[in-house]
Amino acid sequence: CKSEFEKIRTSGDPALVLQKANAYYEEEEYQKAQTLYELVIGSYRGKAEAEDIYFKYAYTYYYLRQYVLAAYYFKNFAQTYGGSSKRQDAEFMAAYSNYQMSPTFRLDQTYTLKAIEEFQAFINAYPNNPRVTECNNLIDEMRAKLERKAFEEGVLYFDIRQYQSAMQSFENLLKDFPETDRADEVRYMIIKSSFLMAENSFVDKQEERYRETANLSLEFLGRYGESEHVKEVSSILNNSQKKLKQLDNVGYQEQSAGAGS
């Protein structure tokens, strides 16, 4: 004995199927609605109902958390029904589906990048859409996530004592996220890495590296006088200058010893 759903599914009557599909959709039975919409999409091609069917069909994927397909169908909708009043909604939802798939910063950020790109395209295309503010907020949220990822990358290299790699990662962060509001912290990490790299270098590289650290520190103090890291940076600057003086003395002694012999 067939269930009601099965009866409708196999009825072969597009009008009935559509009517039931819409009913299921209203009742938030999205899986059933999706199955039925799929059946009638072909029959309604080129008809007035097609637009609405397709839009709801895309939404069933969204509600069922199948965001990859949801993004695909929303995008397809926007391309097919260029004149639709729902076109902008669909484009937003395509981007929003990708946003839903954006994972924690510790994982692959492909969907984050895709969502940012699509929200940006949306903003550019429809600057007057009421959702533009929301788009901007979401973009900011995801950029912050990407920035956090970049920051943690630098911290990892710092932790495993790969100071040069840490510096390079932090510098890349400043290049990729010029708008960052933790520039002082990033630069402080660079200075700390630079100092520790000098500490762990062979003697013949030390002078150059301490000098670099001192220069970075001076620049920092000039630029971020208000930063909470001023104290630490000053102390690094002091230490670097001390070390430079020591190296200078050694160098002087060696020189004079060499001249004396």
């Binding site: 072909g42 029959s43 091609r45 080129g46 008809k47 007035a48 097609a50 637009e51 097919t80 029904y81 260029g82 004149g83 639709s84 994972p103 510790r106 994982l107 692959d108 492909t110 990822k149 943690e152 990358e153 990892l156 290299y157 932790d159 495993i160 004592r161 790969q162 040069q164 790699s165 510096m167 390079q168 990662s169 890349n172």
Partner: protein, 824 residues
Amino acid sequence: QVATDTLPIFSYDEPKEYEIGGITVTGANFSDDNAIIGVSGLKVGDKIRIPGGEIPRAMKSLWKLRLFTDVQILEEKTIGDVIFLELIVQERPRLSRHSYRGIKKSYHEDLNETLEQFLLKGGIVTENVKVNASEAIQDFFIGKGFLDAEVSVSEQVDSSRINSVALVFDVDRGERVKIHDIIFQGNENVKDKKLRKQMDNTKRKRRFLASSKFIEDEYEEDQDAIIQFYNTIGFRDAQIVSDSFWRNEDGRVMLQMNIDEGNQYYFRNITWKGNSIYPTETLESVLGIEKGEIYNQELLETRLRFSQDGRDVSTLYMDNGYLFFQVDPTEVAIVGDSIDLEMRIFEGPQATIDKVVIMGNDRTHEHVIRRELRTRPGDKFSRSDIIRSQREIVNLGYFNPEALDINTPVNPQRGTVDIEYTVEEKPSDQLELSAGWGGNRRVIGTLGVAFNNFSLRNIFNKEAWRPLPQGDGQRVSLRAQTNGDFYQSYNMSFTEPWLGGKKPTSFTLAGFYNRFAFGTRGTSSRQSFNIIQGSVSLGTRLRWPDDNFVYSTAINIQTLSLDNWISGLFRTDDGGVVSEGYYNNFSLSQTIARTTINDPIFPKEGSKFSLSLQATLPYSLLFFQDRDYSELSSAERFRWLEYHKWRFDAEWYTPLVGKLVLKAQSKIGILGTYNKKVGTSPFERFQLGGDGINNQQFGFAGVDIISLRGYDVEDLEANLDPNGGSGNIATPVFSKHTLELRYPLSLNPSSTIFVTAFAQAGNAWRTVRDFNPFDLKRSAGLGLRVFLPMFGTLGFDYGLGFDKEVTADKKRGTFNIVLGFEPE
């Protein structure tokens, strides 16, 4: 087209803006007018430019529906700057279904796939569609060697739906056409046979089963192969001047090629220009082409750029970071049949790594991968670092080794390179749920889980439970086994591979409780044996001698208690059964291991060595010097177990031919004592022989169980009861050596399957003094292994033992089953 004449002419010099005042649709009998307008993207009230982008875009959208054979957008009228548009479409019957006649059903699916791009259900049927689809079917059969395939198509009105037709393809595929002969002309320096051999796809019909299809594309490829062959032997001007194709009287294909071979050329002087890092002699020796050799373009390219074994000029530079390296072999003189080459080299700067990007990790957290990589931002590029990083990624065991992709996009302006690792996650958790025969012919139920990529930090994060918090590379395993009252075992372990996140120092916490019990509680028939153990271990990667070495140290606290336990497995040196008592087994283990194996399931090459020492304090020498041990019962003598236990394992893998891999392995174990008066510990001994599967079920029962294929435990003399009893004892010394040929049937990570042929030799001895490394029991046999990520290794071995007595109820062959993991 009639409409052409009436098309209004707009001047492109002055595009004008109009407001749409109305849109009408003509010709849509089966489609909905409003839907058509909707798809066009044009709306009443919109401002459009004519000429401009909107009208063509609308046309394109309507065409894309594939419902019309014609689409026009006309200006109906204009009033001032308000325009009224007319969309004229021409509809055609739509396709409801298609079918085939004259061919077997097995083809239908392949054909449906082929036709997908031409036929759209609900789309319109035009002559064009029909012709394209028919031709596609014909090409499909020609591709299969049916050169005479004929296809015709007919339309049938589908009465069940309005405006629908069904298409029926009538196919007569005809006979498969074979190639009768291939004729060459003009080939003076190379025999016909040699040339035919170059043709991989196009063959003469000679043998019964050999394929001999004529497929035009493949024939052209084969012609290229002939020319390439000529090029490798110095005929660099060789060409196929003409070729012809006809059918002989039997309808078979005849092919003829006329070849102009040209002259044979030789290398003469090769000079190098622009090299500063490597001297000319080094480059010459890598190139390895001598003056007077036959000119071979392919060889030249191989030695310059594409050598399979990585010994070419480009690799020499690239490995050292010269990623922008280019070499351009230029012919500077051709004298007679001799060619002078000048190698023009651009070395470029040494590339520095800018970013290291990890993609595709949708489960494993980035830092778990990144900390293992040897390519780091700011380092100089080196190919060997990439290869090492690749190995480290595979070693994590979370990713599909076959799908690992590494890209190195360069930025020539900045002299930098990015390194992009794209990984593909594979299931790494194991679930064990089994019922099997235990040692005493009882059913044992097991429930075990191993999560190899756990995330402890997310354990309170509800979002992360999908289905488990994962991604931090921690390992958790939990296992419970029981067959009711007789046997119960509970294990747990937790490993954090990077304790503190700063160094690859692994931290493991493990514990287990095992209980064996027979007989009725509270009566004298009751026998029991309990073990409780807790251990903490730290492992760290060494920098010296190289960083493949790992050193680990562990503290094990174990207590064993026996009550009326007369299995006879635990013996003192003189054969006395240890059946009562409470024993403290507190030891410290030290292990040094080196591994270069990159795939833990089916290693293709690499080696693994490990040497370990597990030792207790020498209590009898430290604290109880004045004790007379000969007077004490075994329970008192061994209350504080004392021993030093040595294990040495070595494994080595090397590829032989193709996918065939040779595995060589040696294992030695020795349990020593500090004090002869105390004697060898009855626990921590070894038992060699059999399937080693008890290792899994009674793994913590106070003995190390080692398999020996081809022999059961009782087949080894040393394992027999010295007092003539029926039980088997454990021994303090064993050694085992294995040679194994392994061939993979499937390397798919979701089911790795391989077959093995093995030769093994091993033996056990009752005292260290008896140990004779040449007195071994030999065996050989065959086996199969299947690795399923959820269940671990499953398989069997059949081994023949050559050094055992064969009697009526003792066969030479022994059959062993592997369940869960490879036995020791």
